[in-house]
Amino acid sequence: MILVALLEVNDLSTHYFLKESRVRAVDNVSFTVERGKMLGLAGESGCGKTTVALSIIRMLPPAGKIITGEILLDNIDLLKKSKEEMRKTRWLDVSYVFQYAMNAFNPVMNVGEQITEVIIEKGGIKSRSIKKEAWKQVRELFEIVGLDPERVKNYPHEFSGGMKQRAIIAMAMACNPKLLIADEPVTALDVIVEKKILNLLKKLQKDFNLGVIFITHDLSVIAESCEEVGIMYAGKLVEVGSATTIFHNGAHPYTKMLIKAFPSILGEKTYIEPLEGIPPDLANPPTGCRFHPRCPLAIDECKKKVPFFKQYSSSRHLVACYRAGEKII
């Protein structure tokens, strides 16, 4: 029996069609997520991380269209599902923790109500006993994420930022999903709460054998919690591999420069090296490798031909670069 990955994204391209231009927000991206593993997607703002995530649950804004690719969840292509089937899949199989913890809850409904409604909806039948059961589940979920179960009937504004984020995670776990997409779940929080939320996510991932896609621009968060890492640049996935490989043996010049741009707490005190230049306009991306205008190693080939993924140090370490592994002077 061949073990199938939980989520397999193949050759996904998502473009935004604006009035006069076409923004290639995500181009030919492929990756897999295993059960019980956390994949960290990192990259600068606007590199397409969120677009990848929104493509998976098919919740793109009206201008966004998925051009090519397949998204296999347990070997079933989500892109082939009808709208109604997709609606049923959401939250039951894939749940999503949004960037905006503060406004993710409806202010005029209490938190418990917003969690029970999805349990009841996904449970299918509406009856009084189900309602009672749902409330019981919410109390349990609150306990799992470390909230006081007595506060299920509180309104969102009565929660602090960290508590709201916990409640959102409780909501995300409500229907026992297979895959959890966390889009910058800790960006709005301070470092202490951040750490607690990360530990919570980590614990849930292990306890429930959950596949997690963790989106962030903060490499330190990824280093701490993810098994696998994908580095994105300008709509392209440029390098994928295990966290240790990427951090110690990263081969793409962008990966190396990104890591160097983060200060190390334990290492020597040196000046951090900022990444020069700005990311390209995706309505009009550079030819060849999209990183070549900012890349110190760029050669003529980089400007002409798009580099494809190649195995680098191991079968699970893929890099899209002609000059992978070469030293930056």
Partner: protein, 346 residues
């Protein structure tokens, strides 16, 4: 606990506001030009045997020779007279107000203002305005939800065009068009008027004729109300659609119906409560123009008459009633806000 304190605080606010309104209402009609006696004597037209003496008696009868406020005499001059402390027009006004006496109309002399206002006119206006407000409100919300769910579609554009047209059309003109076509050309509606129950043998025949006469003004008012409220309702819904919690609700895979009617509309309707609270004053002020066009005997028509004939006591009474209703309905709206939106209570 929080909610009770909120109610008490709002109630105190409302009472203070009401008192200020009473004072302003009193002063406003004292500083207006013209003497009430002139209005009565000048209007009567008949040669009065001795106008001078008649005027003096009227002034005494109305108490117009008394000081206006403590230490301010009838000509708005400061006076040191201690008697004015209690014996002044304001104290008399408040005393009479507390027992429901709003004075005597000049125009309908010697009928009392309270009789003129709180009678069949009030009923006529409340029935007409209440029905048209409820009707327009429901239509506006329904169309607003429809248009916002089909944003920028043909339906949306058509609705916006229609309602903008009806909103910017003067209401009396809509009324006149209805009279012209439905009465003049087609003859399917009566010319105007509001049937009084006394003139009918039984309740049902009165009710039918009453509703029949109401169609014209009702349609006119609904057309003009829907115009403004539709745009507000649509705008509110669209604003809510871009909120993050709506995205969350959709990502949760809830039925679109639930997202629209439970998550979006509950938030979008909050500002509509203010709109409704403001509209409550129409319940008693009536739509002056519509009532005049259709000769609907309500408070709007009374206002028109009173302004035309400088019937200050009636205007004063009407103004006070409108202000009181405005304050009370805003108080109620605040309570509803507090109930619907848990964030407001604290």
């Amino acid at each position: 606990m929080g909610f009770r304190r909120y109610i008490i605080r709002r109630a105190i606010d409302s009472i203070i506001l009401l008192m200020i309104t009473v004072i302003f209402n009193f002063i406003l009609f004292r500083v207006m030009p013209g003497d009430p006696t002139t209005a009565i004597l000048g209007r009567s037209g008949s040669p009065v045997y001795n106008p001078g003496e008649y005027r003096t008696r009227l002034i005494e009868r109305f108490g117009l020779n008394k000081a206006i406020l403590p230490f301010i005499d009838k000509d708005f001059q400061i006076t040191p007279d201690l008697n004015t402390l209690i014996d002044n027009q304001f104290v008399v006004y408040i005393q009479k107000l507390l027992v429901g006496d709003l004075g005597i109309s000049f125009n309908y002399f010697p009928q009392e203002v309270s009789y003129l206002i709180f009678g069949h006119r009030l009923l006529n206006t409340i029935l007409l305005m209440g029905l048209s407000i409820v009707l327009s409100f429901l239509i506006a919300i329904l169309l607003g939800t429809l248009a916002s769910s089909k944003f920028k579609s043909k339906t949306d554009m058509t609705l916006i065009f229609t309602t903008l047209t009806s909103y910017s059309t003067p209401v009396f003109w809509i009324g006149m068009l209805i009279v012209f076509f439905c009465y003049g050309q087609l003859g399917i509606l009566p010319y105007g008027g509001s049937p009084r129950i006394e003139e009918y043998s039984d309740l049902s025949s009165w009710g039918l004729d009453y509703l029949y006469h109401m169609i014209g003004p009702l349609v006119t008012l609904t057309i003009s109300f829907v115009g403004a409220w539709f745009l507000i309702a649509r705008d509110q819904m669209l604003g809510v659609f871009t909120e993050d919690y709506i995205t969350t609700a959709r990502a949760k895979g809830l039925k679109e119906r639930r997202v629209m009617f439970v998550h979006a509309r509950k938030n979008a309707m909050l500002p509509m409560i203010s709109v409704l609270a403001l509209a409550m004053t129409y319940l008693v002020s009536g739509a002056t123009m519509t009532e005049t066009v259709f000769n609907w005997n309500g408070l709007g028509l009374l206002t028109y008459e009173s302004v035309y004939r400088q019937d200050y006591p009636v205007l004063q009474g009407l103004l006070l009633l409108v202000a009181a209703v405005a304050i009370i309905s805003n108080f109620i709206a605040d309570l509803i806000y507090g109930l619907l939106d848990p964030r407001i209570r604290y």
